[in-house]
């Protein structure tokens, strides 16, 4: 079924955080080979409360508080996945996945291929991304493009409760490694979530708003900023289509190209800094596939190319906001 629940299906209002917690619980009830591991995921139920109650329900044998050993958390998840478990590992801030980088990039991503398909690696690594407000340079980053560049990995980055639930379930059931990036400022976002079990396939974008003038591709919680910018722009007579790719790899270019058939104008929005990140990749793929569809140069609205500063006003300068999205849209429509 698709991401946006249609009228008929029965739904319940949840936050993103609740949706993750519920999905983990339901999947762990269904499949005894699923374990959760990471720093403070057990007794404390994760600092954001994401795994609350799971330790109590499933016990210390399936919800494992680890020492602060990210390389071993990531690497032992691989060993467990290769031998019969389905680990869901957590890195409390995705910034520190750098510590497990070798295991992730040189082992997890490659081992199935290197071994001629003899091993499969059904594991999920959950990690919050993005700026959380004054958390500075080492607690605010978004690395989705790094991992999109690594053959063998899947990168998922949803930002609505319904998408989070459907995609996390798909991630847990996938036989290949998944990086599941949650935005730390997105945990409290509320939305209707189908009560019935459902999954959302990877590689299927969500058209969050239909429009005919400009196509805005917005990653993670930028979806919500793009939507509010789109409302304001509508009042100015610019009709934007907002597409949330939801998965970074695989990436649904078909939906983007279909939209460009209508609009011919593209704006990409992401929080990661501009240089050498996913915006550039999306633009280059679109240009390669549909240069002739473009009636104006695409624009990328992204984080500025600095480490995240602590000071609030400086931080606010770095992160894309509605004003910058609006400005880019007006530019591509030549206003």
């Amino acid at each position: 079924m698709t991401a946006t629940p249609t009228a008929e299906v029965q739904t319940r209002r949840l936050t993103v955080k609740q949706a993750i917690n519920q999905t983990l619980r339901e999947e762990m009830q269904r499949d005894p080979t699923i374990i959760i591991l990471g720093c403070d995921v057990g007794v404390r139920g994760n600092p954001f409360g994401v795994t609350k109650g799971l330790y109590e329900e499933f016990g210390a044998g399936r919800v494992l508080d680890t020492p602060i050993s990210e390389a071993a958390i990531v690497g032992s998840s691989l060993g467990a996945a290769a031998t019969g478990l389905r680990p869901v590992a957590e890195i409390l801030f995705s910034d520190w996945i750098t510590i497990g980088m070798d295991q992730l990039v040189n082992q997890i991503a490659k081992i199935r291929y290197m071994f001629g398909g003899a091993i499969s690696v059904p594991l999920v690594i959950r990690a919050p991304v993005g700026a959380g407000g004054g958390q500075a340079a080492q607690h605010s980053q978004s690395f989705e493009n790094w991992f999109s560049a690594v053959p063998g990995l899947q990168v998922v980055m949803p930002s609505t409760p319904a998408d989070v639930k459907g995609l996390l379930r798909t991630a847990i059931r996938s036989d290949d490694p998944v990086l599941f990036f949650e935005h730390k400022r997105g945990y409290e976002i509320k939305g209707q979530v189908p009560v019935e079990e459902y999954t959302i396939p990877f590689g299927l974008a969500d058209v969050a708003r239909n429009g005919s003038d400009v196509t805005i591709v917005a990653v993670s919680i930028m979806r919500h900023k793009a939507l509010s910018a789109a409302e304001a722009l509508a009042a100015e007579g610019v009709d934007c289509e907002v597409i949330d790719p939801r998965t970074i790899y695989p990436f649904d270019y078909d939906t983007v190209l279909a939209s460009l058939q209508k609009t011919g104008r593209l704006v990409v929005v992401h929080e990661a800094n501009r240089r050498s990140n996913i915006g550039g990749e999306i633009v280059s793929q679109v240009v390669e596939r549909a240069f002739e569809l473009l009636s104006a140069p695409p624009r990328i609205v992204a984080g500025l190319d600095v480490p995240m500063p602590y000071n609030r006003s400086l931080e606010a300068l770095v992160i894309p906001d509605e004003a910058r999205i609006r400005q880019a849209v007006l530019t591509v429509v030549g206003r």
Binding site: V43, Y55, A60, L64, I68, A136, A137, Q138, R312, L314
Partner: protein
Amino acid sequence: MRHRVTPEENCEAVAAFERDILTPLAMSARLEPADLREMYARMRLIREFDTAVKELWKQDFIYGLAHSYVSAEAIAVGACAALRDGDYITSTHRGHGHTIAKGGDPRRMMAELMGRAPGYNKGKGGSMHIAAVDMGMLGATGIVGSAMPIAVGSALTAKTLGRDNVTVCFHGDGATNQGVWHESINLAAAWGLPVIFLCENNQWAISMPYEQAVGNPSVADRAVGYGIPGVTVDGFNAIAVHDAVAEAAERARTGGGPTLIEARFYRYIGHFVADDEAYRDPACNERWQQFDPIERMAGFLLESGSADKAWLDEADETALARVEDAIAFAKAAPEPALDTLYDGLYSDEFMAQQGIGR
């Protein structure tokens, strides 16, 4: 595997601490009464500073993540009292105490915590990255264990340039399970570098009790594997910490290589300013508070005749006044100008050449 720490376990831990670790404060051949008074003043300054930080965070003058050094004062102050100008320290996510102990200016610190322009980091670092490089304090870090190799590198500089400086590498018990902790200590041991690895073992890493995170809860025991001296000291006792660090520093300055010191104590406050501590029994903290390092130091100053009550009262007032002054300074200080966003990204020469920020 992981289980909630029971009140019984905690009582046993307290008893074991009293039996095996706790050492009464005693005069040190290396310290004059004046030194002891100065140590007390710095411990008190740290206490007042971080007590104020918690309030200021609640009032949103300070934001993001802030970790208090309360309960650990004896360690940073004891260690830094054994250092000289030119010596370095590296820090953790809990860096306020280290900065004050190494001589950092509370005004510039508080300004940094409030993200103001005159702050040590010009408002770009905040609590988790507070640095006082001019004082040899090489900066706090938000990533557990990440300062370990930086400490080793600073010691490599001393050895390479023939300086007799040492570096004290503060780190938490949680950091001891990071790979880079191991690589750093082994490298320093293999090369005989002048670095003192000082583990602040407060027995918790957020919600994880140390004995459940390891196979052997003695950090000092690990020194055997590296072929370096390993000692455990009472982390609530500033004089004991000082003497252990002073001895290690003398060895390091004379080519004796690194030492691993475990300062065992207990974090009887929340992990960070807004920690609800739901992961442990609140009663635990009270049991450990009896070892308050500042009260113990005050008691020793009196009984050893190093200071009288009047001096203590004045010292306490001075500490409070310095913090109030720092707060006033910080609140009055300007926010960084928006056009300073790119400043410090690269060296000025490169920035100019590339026209960055223009």
